[in-house]
Amino acid sequence: MKIFVNGTPTEIPLDLNIYMLLDQLDVQKKHIAIEINENIIFKTDWESTKLEEGDKIEIVKAIGGG
């Protein structure tokens, strides 16, 4: 199925939770935050949150800024 990760259309298998998506994207899990369709998903809910067709995912981190 197709989801959008940071604006990019991405094909993923069915029944993927957030942890599995992060593994697939090879993203470190420390110091990041995740939104699905503009709602923050707390880290404690990553395991239980399954992705659905058309979901818009934002995966963000801290970068240098003033």
Partner: protein, 259 residues
């Protein structure tokens, strides 16, 4: 010398210099400069992870939240909704820390704060239990409103972000320093050490800067310069400057030899 801590939202800091982490050559230079500056509160921005760059680490891998108080900002927000979203993402990145630097700007050219939207966003964030340190113009009414809403620090700009112009409206800044009871931090527009000293001599509680160190020819030395400037300005303020007046001799007029 007496202890002279900066208190923000029940947390105390011995340094009155806050610094940003942007515009450095690399993370190593940023970390070294920040360590030399003595800053304890350090700002970061929140951005999408770039999946095309697999090795890109987080700035927090270098500037550790165990060592510094990390202040995530809402830079890049031009409306209330994005600012609130960004603040919540920043809080999540830091595992629930409540401090946020709120900034909602008018446009990407002037980078000046939009005060109507800043006030609306501040109201929402305070209700959501954020400790809001708010970047703002030197408009007195807006600053008082932000204080009344419960912001923990009012941070008027010396001059536009990255401009290095120094304090362009000192009278307006002075009025805010004199009438706001939460810490007033002069944020943005500092160009060199004397600008930081002047802000502190005026009675500001602290100074927040980034470009002045990061884009100087020697950031490590400039970091030290800013540390000393802030300390020097603060000491000068606490010591009480002499009033400006006509000339008065420093050496006695009596006992002068005759020709």
């Amino acid at each position: 010398m007496k202890k002279d801590d900066l208190c923000i939202s029940n947390k105390t800091f011995s340094s009155r210099l806050l610094v940003g982490t942007g515009k450095y050559k690399d993370e190593i230079e940023a970390l070294k400069s920040i360590e030399i500056s003595g800053a304890e509160i350090v700002t970061v921005a929140v951005r999408r992870i770039d999946f095309s760059n697999k090795n890109s680490q987080s700035i927090l891998d270098f500037i550790s939240p165990d060592k510094f108080t990390i202040l995530p900002n809402t830079a890049g927000s031009y409306n209330v909704k994005d600012a609130v979203r960004m603040a919540k993402l920043g809080r999540e990145i830091l595992g629930g820390e409540e401090l946020v630097k709120l900034e909602v700007l008018n446009d990407p050219e002037t980078l000046l704060p939009n005060m109507d939207m800043t006030i609306k966003a501040a109201e929402i964030l305070v209700k959501e239990n954020f400790d809001v340190m708010v970047y703002c113009t030197s408009d007195y009414e807006s600053c008082k409103k932000l204080e009344d809403l419960g912001c923990v620090s009012i941070m008027p700009l010396a001059a536009p972000i990255g401009s290095g112009l120094g304090i362009i409206e000192p009278d307006k800044i002075q009025r805010i320093i004199d009438s706001v009871s939460v810490p007033v931090i002069i944020d943005a527009g500092i160009g060199t050490a004397s600008d930081a000293s002047i802000a502190m001599e005026m009675g500001a509680d602290a100074v927040l800067l980034n470009t002045a160190i990061a884009k100087s020819k020697n950031p490590l030395d400039m970091a030290m310069s800013m540390k000393l400037a802030v300390q020097s300005g603060r000491l000068s303020f606490k010591s009480g400057r002499i009033p400006k007046s006509n000339a008065s001799p420093s050496s006695p007029l009596s006992g002068i030899i005759e020709s």
